[in-house]
Every structure is written in C-alpha cells, then in structure tokens.
Symmetry: C2
Amino acid sequence: MKENDITYRFIGIVHSPHKSDEGIPIQPIGAKGIKAEIEVFEEFQEGLKDLEEFSHIIVLYDFHRSKDYKLIVKPFLDNETHGVFATRAPKRPNSIGLSVLKLNKVVENILYVENVDILDETPILDIKPYVSKFDSVEKERNGWLEKKIDKSIIQKSDNRFK
Amino acid sequence: MKENDITYRFIGIVHSPHKSDEGIPIQPIGAKGIKAEIEVFEEFQEGLKDLEEFSHIIVLYDFHRSKDYKLIVKPFLDNETHGVFATRAPKRPNSIGLSVLKLNKVVENILYVENVDILDETPILDIKPYVSKFDSVEKERNGWLEKKIDKSIIQKSDNRFK
C-alpha cells in the first residue's frame, strides 16, 4: 500500500427535516416515515439510471459535524464504554456514516427517501443498491447491542458527540 | 456545505488469498468459507474493544485498483448497462467498497474474518458492527439484480473494471 490516505469528492447532499444534531433518531428504525431528499449533483445524475427499481438503498455519507474522534466511546444506547469500531458512533477515525433507506422515487437528480436518520446538509459519498442476499445475515450475535436494539427505536441523539 | 471533498486516513489493510483482481468472488455470498485477516493499524487497536462480541461486521474499504470511474456500467452480473449507483461495481465516483463479513475472532489488532470477497492489500476505511435490525430489510425489490443474485454465488470477476 503506497498511500496512507485518500480524498473523496462529495456526490450530493441531504435535505432533511433534522436541522440539529441533538434529538435526531440514531438509526433508520427510529426514523420510520421520516422523509427527506438526497440531491445528487447534476454531474453524477446519469449514474442513477435504474436505481428506482430498488426499494432500498445503502447511503454512505460523512458525519460532517464530527471533527475529531475517540477510540473508546460511550454510545447513545449504553452506559458502558466500547471500542468505537464496536459502535455506530459518529466520532470515528474516518467519520463515515451508513444508513439503509427506503427509496420512494427518483426524479431527475433527486432521490425521495424515507426512514431518514441523517442530518440536514450532510454530504453524500456513495449510493449503492441494497440487496438482502448480499447485505443481510440471518442469524447473528449483536454483542453489547443485543439488549439495546429496541431502545434505538425511541432513543434520540444528545450532544455527547459534539 | 463548505468543502467539496474530504480526506480519510486508512485504518488497516486486508491480508487475503485474493491476489489478483481477476477471478475473485464478486460478493461475500460467493466467497463462503474464504478466510482472511484484517490488520488494524496499532494506533487504532483500542477501538476494537468488544467488537468480538459481534458475529458479523460491516467493512468499508477503498477499491484501490480502481483509478477512474464511469457513470454507466455493465456489471459482472448483467449484459445490460445500468447507472453505477444502481450497481456494486468498483469503478464509482468514490471507490468505496462495502462487505458484510463473518467475524471469527479478534487477536490484538488482527480480525480473523470469513466469506471474504476483498482483494489482498485493500486499505480499510472503517469497521462497524453489523446489526440486522439496523441494516437488514425484510421485503425489498432488487431491481435488475432480482434474477441475477444467484448468479453472484458462482460469478467471478473479470477484467472489465481494470
């Protein structure tokens, strides 16, 4: 490996009702029915061909409000500390977020999405079709999250990752 | 949004039996049982605390052999063309790959993983715990991939994304 870092260019931006990073749902399952638009910049619009045939998409984005990181964190869903890679906390060495969203329609360069837990003005890195045979696992161990998952439906963010 | 791009630092590297980008499985479901190691650089090792409690992880990495991109592509699984964002093809505007891998164990800074479709020496961007309630969708439409998914179990890559 020759390079130690890489620069990516944002391909779009989210227009979401979540204007503040306090109080937003922490996962799409806590954001059922919340709609937003992803504006893909026009130069990339051609890359959206046939995306509308998929009911769900994987969206990768930058947690643009997270400016530093910690290796040990206390996530929203627990009072114990965990390694940051064992959590979905935004303050990560690379501040990349991932959400699986419902795709309602595509009109030109705008994706109309639902179950959105993403902050307004979040820059987008990539969009991929969600395919359960590729991306879903039937039986898994969820570690410390096992007993906390249902809490994520009602848990909102606070200011701990500011 | 003030910045149009972002620089991320690699947090690790894959040591995989896939030495060439021709002939490797194109998805983890085509790589059942194939084992590899993810070496997380020592400065980030502390962030792995409690990760071993999870049976599966989401690994984000850079398709380091993909040096340019196309907005319209003919993916491995189809002879029709599609927008790149409706495919998992490596030549994307941001060359970020995503695989859900089985995590067998963690020893110090080494993750022992299985079902690996990732090329040797691939640089790692992020590791997240896989949580089906966050990341899996029960009923979905798979667009053009619907009738091609089973083919992905046997399909290997060729040189079309070189």
